[in-house]
């Protein structure tokens, strides 16, 4: 091999490497700049998790749920909340007062949060139970046993909700007052 051929090959190799490097940079730039930067949720941080979420949804086959199935699931879960009990410790399976859609949402939310996933899932489950019970209490007939029972359960859960910052202070005050009127001391 003559020195000139060697030089030619080296030059070609450098050219190929340069082209590949340029291509990589170009792809990276395209990847960076094609993100949606319009108004709305800034999902750049969460794009990976969003894709994971989609995969998880597919795994659970809820993607194929019809509107009627979604709504029926919500109705059943909301009704189940009337007699549902708060959870403590790690929640390993979906309580019946949490719909499949809600469960999937919660799973993905805690996956996206830093810190203790189990504790966060527990908090979300108890929070949704509280608010479902509260809605049921608000719509229950005045003076009914169901309203009284729900009222007592809400009163028991209220300190937990307040301590965790899960309820607006004004809303908590109003609820306390209403529960007092309903239940007395």
């Amino acid at each position: 091999m003559t020195p000139s051929t060697q030089l030619e090959r080296k030059t070609k190799t450098r050219l190929v490497v340069a082209v590949i490097a340029f291509g990589v940079v170009l792809i990276a730039l395209l990847f960076i700049f094609t993100g949606n930067r319009s108004a709305g949720v800034d999902e750049s941080r969460n794009r990976g998790q969003a894709e994971e979420a989609q995969v998880a949804a597919e795994e659970l086959d809820i993607k194929n749920m019809s509107r009627e199935e979604i709504e029926e699931g919500q109705i059943n879960a909301n009704r189940a909340a009337i007699s549902g009990k708060p959870v403590s410790g790690k929640v390993t399976e979906r309580p019946d007062y949490v719909s499949r859609v809600e469960w999937e949402v919660f799973q993905n939310v805690v996956r996206n949060q830093p810190g203790d996933d189990d504790a966060q899932l527990t908090a979300l489950v108890n929070k949704i139970l509280f608010y479902k019970k509260k809605e049921a209490w608000e719509t229950a007939g005045t003076g009914t046993d169901q309203r009284a029972r729900l009222g007592r359960e809400l009163r028991d859960m209220l300190p937990y909700m307040k301590e965790g910052g899960h309820i607006h202070p004004d809303e908590a005050k109003r609820l306390e007052s209403a529960l007092y009127n309903d239940l007395g001391r």
Binding site: A39, G40, V41, D42, E43, N46, R47, Q49, A50, A53, Q54, A57, I62, K63, M65, S66, R67, I70, E71, Q74, I75, N78, A81, S99, V101, E102, E104, V105, F106, N108, V109, N112, Q113, L124, K127, I128, Y131, K132, K134, E135, G164, G165, H166, I167, H168, P169, D170, E171
Partner: protein, 625 residues
């Protein structure tokens, strides 16, 4: 260069002026501590009316030496290294300078000022440009002088100065005539101010440690009083300081015609500026404005008091007070103007009778409540008629905000002049004329922000997601500086938000204010020009439609109780116009209601404490006229 003058003539001028002052004024500006009150015939000082106490070194510096060297205007009498505190500025070296200048009557006077030079190297191949910055109204007390205010870190024009310095330009700032110890500012005396600015540039070129070239390109920039100074300096420069390499003059909010400006101030929000003008013009033209003959007892007291105040304190103290209050027989302003010497004195402050030989950039806020818009438009037309290459920019702002709204545009225009680009100008008939949109100049002093751009982000804690409001969102408020009450609203168009984290879920969100005035609170502009805003923006957050997995699943949910966004700001008034008016905080969302099926889910995800937000309010874009 100008005429030479000797120590004795100068001393007699100063002595004469001070004697008049001592007769007429019952008290003086307090700029010293209680131990240094014995300043000749001036009354004893007490307290710190203008908020700043000069130390011994300052008193020595601002005192005109008893023995003066002879010199020309622009020659340095003395200088010292200066301390300047300009938030946001780069590292700088600074010097206070005392130099010779010339008053409006052609008589030599002595002025102080500051030269500030960034420590960053400029270029080996060109001279560092100099911006001659003409300050707006600062107040009649000696401690209101910009050199004093900058040392204290209180100068309300710091934002503009920081922007200049961040361009790596040098900036020179005259204190204006009358801020040496025991002197009386010749406020709004146009020629004196113009001379002092031009001489400040000349003095800076002679200040060895500043290392500025006498051939450096110079641009002049000023707003309000500074707009008057800048314009006069531009008109005077060809004859008075032809050696200055002037490339452009930027002048905003210019009081160009006192016969139009004064009625707009008299008895209105800007009354303090008129009172100060009377004092300043008397100081320069004691025969033209015969104050001892005109002022009643209340006037005497007001004159003495006004001299102890800086601009914001004076603004509120004399707001809506007619000048006739201070005049013997309560003579109305129109009769005072009819006095020949008064008329002649005011007329001498009229701009636009001489051309400016370099391009001029003028600007004004259509909501200006202090300096009438129309007389400034006429100045542009006079300059155009004189062949001056004039550009006029109109801002949707009131007087104070416009000063800082305009800064980036002014600096951009100046940069083009320094680069040698040709100025296109906006002379000629544009087919329309800017109209005032100012709040009534009398009554309460209200600073309005009408549909200013709102750049807002809310961080949803549980979802760990940032919701960015649409770029077309707006913020409107009235800052009633008289009642100190804040009212307003924000308009956020309906927008789509992809909450991808929880499923392929798309929601349309609407954020609306609650009630007639969702924004309420307190607002206060303190004596140092610091704006204090503390209020609450009450809003409903609605999720207008929900599409889950591509399936529309419901009508909407919304917050059960209004969301309270605390609106808190404590910072310089310049933030109102500079796009740095930012409210950050934490709020709580109540439970969500409106859709029995999904209330629980959205409440779990969105309600509770720890929701953070950041709202930034910035002004609308200007237009050329």
């Amino acid at each position: 260069m100008g005429k030479k003058f000797c120590i004795s003539s100068l001393a007699s001028i100063i002595t004469g002026a001070l004697l008049v002052a001592s007769v007429i004024l019952s008290s003086g500006c307090d700029f010293t501590d209680s131990d240094s009150s014995d300043l000749g015939f001036m009354p004893a000082m007490s307290g710190t009316e203008a908020g700043i106490v000069l130390d011994a070194g300052d008193i020595e510096f601002y005192t005109v030496p008893s023995s003066l060297p002879s010199g020309d205007h622009g020659d340095i009498i003395k200088y010292r290294e200066a301390e300047v505190n300009i938030p946001g500025a780069p590292s700088v070296n600074a010097w206070n300078v005392m130099y010779y200048s010339t008053d409006s009557l052609g008589v030599p006077n002595i002025v102080t000022g500051t030269v500030i030079v960034p420590t960053k190297l400029w270029s080996l191949f060109s001279n560092r440009p100099i911006i001659a910055y003409a300050i707006g109204t600062h107040g009649l007390c000696q401690t209101c002088a910009p050199s004093v205010q900058m040392k204290a870190g209180l100068d309300y024009e710091s934002e503009n100065l920081a922007q200049i310095l961040n361009q790596n330009y040098a900036v020179v700032i005259t204190d204006n005539p009358g801020y040496t110890i025991d002197a009386i500012p010749t406020y709004m005396s146009g020629k004196a101010q113009g001379h002092s600015l031009l001489d400040m540039v000349t003095a800076a070129g002679k200040l060895s440690p500043a290392n500025l070239s006498k051939n450096a390109k110079v641009a002049i920039w000023g707003y309000s009083q500074g707009g008057q100074t800048a314009s006069f300096a531009g008109e005077l420069q060809p004859a008075y300081a032809p050696d200055i390499n002037l490339v452009g003059v930027a002048a905003g909010g210019v009081p160009a015609d006192f016969f139009a400006v004064a009625p707009y101030l008299d008895g209105k929000n800007g009354s303090a500026f008129l009172l100060s003008t009377v004092i300043g013009l008397w100081s320069q033209y004691p025969e033209g404005i015969p104050l001892p003959d005109l002022a009643n007892a209340e006037g005497m007291a007001a004159i003495a008091e006004a001299r102890t105040m800086c601009v914001f304190e004076a603004l509120f103290t004399y707001m809506n007070t007619p000048l006739s209050t201070f005049v013997t027989g309560n003579t109305p302003f129109e009769e005072l103007v009819a006095i020949p010497s008064v008329n002649e004195t005011l007329d001498a402050q009229t701009l636009g009778r001489s051309p400016i030989e370099v391009p001029v950039f003028m600007y004004h806020g259509t909501s200006d409540e202090f300096i009438e818009l129309e007389q400034c438009l006429k100045l542009k037309e006079r300059y155009c008629d004189l062949g001056v290459n004039t550009t006029f920019m109109v801002f949707a702002g009131e007087h104070i905000t416009t000063q800082f709204q305009a800064s980036p545009y002014v600096l951009n225009w100046i940069a083009q002049r320094l680069d040698g680009d040709e100025a296109i100008g906006t002379c000629g008939n544009p087919g329309w004329r800017p109209q005032t949109t100012a709040n009534p100049p009398e009554g309460d002093f209200i600073v309005s922000l009408n549909a200013w751009a709102l750049d807002a982000v809310v961080h949803l804690k549980t979802l760990m997601q940032r919701v960015t409001l649409p770029s077309t969102s707006t913020f409107t408020c009235d800052n009633n500086m008289t009642t100190k009450k804040l009212t307003g609203n924000m308009e956020v168009p309906e927008f789509k938000a992809n909450i991808n984290v929880i499923l392929p879920l798309q929601v349309k969100m609407i954020i609306t204010g609650v009630g007639d005035s969702p924004l309420t609170g307190d607002v206060n502009l303190d004596e140092n020009g610091i704006l204090h805003v503390h209020g609450h923006m009450m809003t409903d957050i609605r999720i207008q439609s929900i599409t889950m997995l591509g399936i529309p699943i419901g009508t909407y949910v919304h917050t059960k109780d209004p969301v309270d966004f605390p609106i808190d700001f404590d910072g310089p008034i310049s933030a109102l116009g500079s796009g740095k008016l930012t409210f950050t905080g934490t709020t709580r969302f109540s439970s969500m209601t409106g859709n029995w099926l999904f209330n629980g889910l959205f409440t779990s995800l969105m309600s509770g404490s720890g929701q953070t937000f950041e709202f930034t309010v910035s002004p609308p874009s200007p237009i050329l006229w």
